[in-house]
């Protein structure tokens, strides 16, 4: 019997600490598969954010370094400028990338740093227990918007990929989703393209991934597809914004 799909060899044999159905696992799986396909498992450096993926180092075989909350793009800037031969993925949550780290995110993109940002947009602060994120949808209930996010008090959710796409330097900016197998394969192709642009052309790319946090959305994983299609994708349209 031939193996047609197997667990990536770039993942370790440690089970993740993510909740059942959490998209962070899917995103990591894709990055692991891509790193094997590009033969960079031993070279890839993974810059972790502060969020549910902070302690992700045991789950895969790449080298990693941590950053303070929101600061990964600046940390990776210093790193990559001094160590240009290493492919670098900056993995960030939506709070990390688009709230506390907005300045670092925008300026790393504006400088066109030679790394790939993957922003996991799950519309909440997962790690701290489901508070409002900069991406929380209007009307969405979180622990800090108990009656639903109001525009009057909180303004509108930020579309980060669009912010990045209006800058000159980024080569490839896209928003993808992880809620169906088809979307997962498209997201994988996008991350792979971004990494190839980094490796071959020293280009900055930004891949926003619409992710599910079933725990803080308080839904069953089986309901993710419907929730995404009904609520999330209409506000965060999918597709390439640049490149």
């Amino acid at each position: 019997m031939d193996v047609v799909y197997k667990r990536s060899g770039a993942l370790s044999d440690v089970s993740t600490t993510y909740c059942p159905g959490c998209s962070h696992g899917t995103a990591f799986k894709l990055i692991a598969e891509i790193s094997e396909e590009l033969d960079i498992v031993n070279k890839l450096v993974f810059a972790t954010p502060i969020g549910c993926t902070t302690f992700s180092a045991p789950f895969h075989k790449f080298s990693t370094f941590m950053s303070a909350h929101g600061r990964a793009p600046a940390n990776a800037t210093g790193f990559k400028r001094c160590n240009p031969k290493r492919p670098v993925i900056v993995y960030q949550g939506d709070g990390d990338c688009a709230a506390i780290g907005t300045g670092e995110s925008i300026h790393a993109a504006a400088r066109g740093e030679a790394f790939t940002v993957v922003m996991a947009n799950n519309q909440v602060y997962g790690m701290t227990g489901g508070q409002m994120a900069p991406t929380t949808l209007t009307g969405q209930k979180t622990t800090t918007t108990p009656n639903g996010r109001s525009v009057e008090a909180c303004g509108y959710p930020i579309r980060m990929a669009e912010q990045i796409a209006q800058l000159e330097a980024p080569r490839f900016v896209t928003r993808q989703s992880l809620h169906t197998p088809k979307n997962i394969l498209q997201a994988k192709a996008a991350i792979k393209k971004a990494l190839e642009l980094q490796i071959n052309e020293e280009a900055y790319s930004f891949v926003e991934l619409l992710c599910a946090c079933p725990t803080n959305w308080a839904i069953e994983p089986s309901g993710i597809k419907e929730y995404m299609e009904k609520n999330v994708i209409p506000y965060f349209p999918l597709g390439d914004l640049k490149g």
Partner: protein, 361 residues
């Protein structure tokens, strides 16, 4: 001895940093630090180094962290409000045991303050680097030459101990022109760029660099942090034996002792020379390393011989004064001469204070 050249403090330390192997600078313009940023902008380009004008001090100090993780000899410099923004990364450097050098060209006042020299950042870096209570080596030079000597060796120390090294300069030292020995280039090994500062796990080619030492012999994070920070503390204690630097000036027969550091000490030297002409036996102990603090020479001051101590400091409220007071014999009268906000210590006031102590002679 090499021929000395006239250099301003900021530029001199920048050139010497480069010769010490610094190949990375990230900074954000702020007076009186800006000449360092401007100098390294063109000078690092000449040696294929990396210069980044960051979007903030928050980012500048984080880039420093990244450069250090990468293995480069990295520098940042700031002043006043910029230091507040950098404290996040100072904490990460100290906790992640990452070598890097930070220069604070101190300016007056808190908040926006003003642009003249001061010593009010003393507590902020000698007591703890950012949140969490960890330490780094901290130096307070008082001449351009000393500033250069310290920065020339700063990365050797930083890498030896895997610690941030902090240099407290100030507006006057940065702008002052003095003869210095611009030192020869240090040669560094390229192997340093293979993720040298692993903290956590190293499994063949996989390296894990954490800003917090979670790994250790125990099963819980808290036990491991307790264990690892205890070891850090042993290192800090050992610095008291191995890394203390201070100067004694005219102390052989001194009956009155001025204690100060950096610019305040330098100004005090003029007062000492004037007082000596008047026959007052006054000397000085000048801490150069501010952490570790030179406790022993202060402990050794003999109440039978020393009639008074004057701490000269450019900070209000007093900061350094309390560290001195804690180390000297309680039977020796101690006074402080303080200025702040960019108002430098004054030679005539220092003389007056000592004369008062000496009974109005």
């Amino acid at each position: 001895m090499a021929k000395k050249e006239m250099w301003k403090g900021n530029e001199a330390m920048s050139e010497v940093a480069l010769r010490a192997g610094c190949r990375f600078f990230s900074g954000y313009p702020i007076t009186p630090q800006t000449p360092i940023t401007e100098y390294l902008a063109w000078r690092l380009a000449e040696v294929d180094g990396v210069f980044i004008q960051a979007e903030s001090e928050l980012a500048a100090a984080t880039m420093l962290l990244g450069a250090s993780i990468a293995g480069a000899r990295a520098l940042t410099a700031t002043a006043g409000p910029g230091l507040s923004l950098m404290t996040e990364s100072l904490s990460c450097l100290a906790s992640g045991r990452l070598p890097a050098v930070i220069v604070d060209v101190q300016r007056g006042g808190a908040a926006t303050g003003n642009l003249q020299g001061a010593q009010s950042d003393y507590n902020m870096v000698t007591k703890t680097l950012g949140h969490g209570g960890l330490k780094g080596l901290v130096y307070g030079p008082s001449t351009v030459e000393e500033l250069c000597d310290i920065i020339y060796d700063a990365w050797d120390k930083a890498e030896k101990y895997r610690t941030p090294v902090f240099i407290l300069s100030d507006a006057s030292l940065g702008q002052m022109m003095e003869p210095v020995d611009i030192k020869p280039f240090k040669q560094l090994d390229e192997s340093r760029f293979d993720l040298p500062y692993v903290i956590g796990r190293e499994e063949s080619e996989k390296k894990v660099i954490q800003d917090t030492p979670y790994a250790g012999p125990y099963s819980t994070m808290s036990e491991n942090l307790d264990y690892n920070y205890r070891k850090y503390n042993e290192m800090y204690e050992q610095w008291k034996e191995d890394e203390v630097l201070y100067e004694e000036y005219m102390m052989d027969d001194a009956e009155y002792v001025i204690i100060g550091w950096g610019m305040a000490a330098r100004i005090s030297k003029s007062a000492i020379r004037n007082l000596r002409k008047k026959g007052i036996k006054v000397g000085m102990i000048r801490p150069i390393s501010l952490f570790p603090f030179p406790e022993k020479p202060l402990n050794a001051l003999d109440a039978k011989k020393i009639k008074g101590i004057l701490v000269v400091e450019m900070a209000i409220p007093a900061l350094f004064y309390h560290d001195v007071k804690a180390q000297v014999d309680k039977n020796i009268p101690i006074k402080a001469n303080l200025h702040c906000g960019g108002y430098l210590s004054q030679v005539d006031e220092i003389e007056e204070d000592i004369l008062k102590m000496a009974g109005g002679k």
